[in-house]
């Protein structure tokens, strides 16, 4: 056991760090893009604050196309774009760009779903007090759906965590990459197992954290 850690401890620690950096960074960037997109999508929906069928349809297409491209294909297909943004298609930066691109439409969709759950009566009440649409978005839609948005963020995080396993393809490392290289390619089952256990533990921790946070802020 001690020998195992001497040999692979540093490797697994670096893998954990790489995975977390990739996941957290891409999660943040995915929200920077996906949150406004999701709000725009919800606001323009039929029955939304400012219904606009044309805008809503186009946004729907973009979001669905984005969500339907398999990540491993996207990773390779957008290499020119990745190079343009971060100057390289390799390593952690080279993985964060495709992870962000893959997650942003997913974020937009779950944000839209969270906002759509807000009781229409509350929106009407806010209108009756003279709220503008912008005020309703911030003070009613986002505020009232915050627990749901947090749950969505936890799901996004876990999804990105899973996607990041494929980032080894572009040399970004991470736990998934370790599991594939050592376990699948070199038949070192023990290293693979350790990497997988780390993945399981980390996912549990972050999911529980998200659930706890959502529960503690939910006043319903």
């Amino acid at each position: 056991m001690a020998e195992f850690f001497d040999n692979y401890g540093a490797l697994l620690a670096q893998g954990t760090i790489d995975t977390l950096v990739m996941t957290i960074a891409s999660c943040i960037f995915a929200y920077v893009i996906g949150l406004p997109l999701g709000i725009w999508f919800a606001v323009t929906a039929p029955g939304g604050l400012k219904p606009n069928t044309a805008v809503n349809t186009v946004l729907g297409w973009i979001i669905n196309i984005g969500r339907s491209i398999p990540f491993i294909i996207l990773l390779v297909a957008i290499i020119p774009f990745t190079r343009l943004v971060v100057g390289t298609s390799l390593g952690v930066p080279g993985a964060v760009v495709p992870l962000t691109v893959a997650a942003a439409p997913f974020v937009a969709r779950i944000v839209e779903q969270s906002l759509a759950e807000v009781d229409k009566d509350l929106i009407e009440a806010a209108h009756s007090f003279g709220s503008s649409n912008a005020q309703i978005v911030v003070k009613v839609l986002l505020k009232e759906s915050l627990p749901s948005l947090v749950r969505g963020a936890a799901i996004t995080f876990v999804n990105l965590f899973g996607y990041s396993a494929m980032a080894g393809t572009v040399g970004a490392g991470g736990l998934g990459d370790i599991a594939i290289r050592y376990g699948y390619q070199r038949f070192q089952g023990d290293v693979m197992l350790a990497a997988v256990i780390l993945c399981v533990v980390l996912v549990q921790v972050f999911q529980s954290l998200g659930d706890w946070l959502a529960r503690s802020i939910d006043k319903r």
């Binding site: 009566d121 003279g130 009232e144 006043k219």
Partner: protein
């Protein structure tokens, strides 16, 4: 004074147009506690939403204090709405805000200074006797308490008018009386003109000084509460009162009174 002049509302639906309101003429005087009674689907909730333009009429004019507001837009519209309080059947309290933050909401919307807002909100909560619940969330309150908080919130901007859309329909009879007494109090002591939408004759009779009866988008009767209750002019009112020639029990099946004589 609120005046509705020949107000009509037609909804365009894929299966043809639906007329919700037809040639509504009403005058609500300052200080009135004005009841609008009707069966569900009669158009009363649609009607009250025309007074703060949550719904816009397709015909006619809405005039408040002599100003034609029918075409108000943008800032003008928002300021008009802010000057008219409103409470709702299901209270419509913000679930993720405390009682105090709910009452502060209309002030926050108008970007009033925050410290002053809290002071004003506490003052309103004292008025509805719930200042001890200021830090609680709506989910921790009873129905009657929720409607009292909603009433405090509706008063935040010192409105001259308050619209009550089935404000007591979700409450039991004892709580209904408490909330009605509070509304009557607001009307009498703060001089807020009230428009009360209800399907309940008992509610209207207890607090209103004037009553209009609406049926299938038409005002079929209007008068003082005494007149309407003692000498109803329309068939619909007589039926609502249980005086109808073809007995009140028939009204329970949805109240489709198209073709009924008026």
């Amino acid at each position: 004074m609120i005046e509705l002049k020949d107000v009509g509302k037609v909804y365009n639906a894929s299966d043809g147009d639906h007329r919700a309101l037809d040639h509504i003429n009403l005058t609500i005087a300052d200080g009135d506690m004005f009841g609008i009674i009707g069966e569900s689907g009669a158009g009363k909730s649609t009607l009250v939403r025309h007074l703060n333009l949550l719904e816009r009429p397709t015909e006619g004019r809405v005039i408040i204090d002599g100003v034609d507001i029918t075409d108000f837009q943008g800032k003008e519209l928002r300021e008009l709405r802010a000057s008219i309080g409103m409470i709702f059947q299901n209270f419509s309290l913000f679930q993720q805000r405390t009682v105090l933050q709910n009452v502060m909401f209309p002030l926050e919307i108008r970007r009033e200074p925050k410290a002053q807002n809290a002071e004003r909100a506490h003052e309103l909560l004292r008025l509805v006797n719930l200042d001890d619940k200021a830090k609680r969330y709506p989910s921790e309150l009873s129905g009657g308490q929720k409607q009292r908080v909603a009433s405090a919130r509706a008063l935040a901007n010192n409105p001259r008018y308050m619209l009550c859309d089935e404000a007591t329909s979700a409450l039991d009879s004892r709580t209904t009386m408490q909330v009605l007494d509070l509304l009557a109090d607001i009307n009498a002591n703060l001089g807020v003109t009230m428009v009360l939408i209800t399907h309940s004759l008992a509610v209207a009779r207890r607090v209103c000084n004037r009553i209009a009866v609406i049926d299938s988008g038409h005002i079929v009767e209007e008068g003082t509460t005494d007149e309407v209750f003692t000498n109803p002019q329309s068939e619909v009112t007589r039926e609502l009162l249980g005086w109808g020639s073809d007995s009140a029990s028939d009204r329970a099946d949805g109240g489709d009174s198209e073709g009924g004589e008026r």
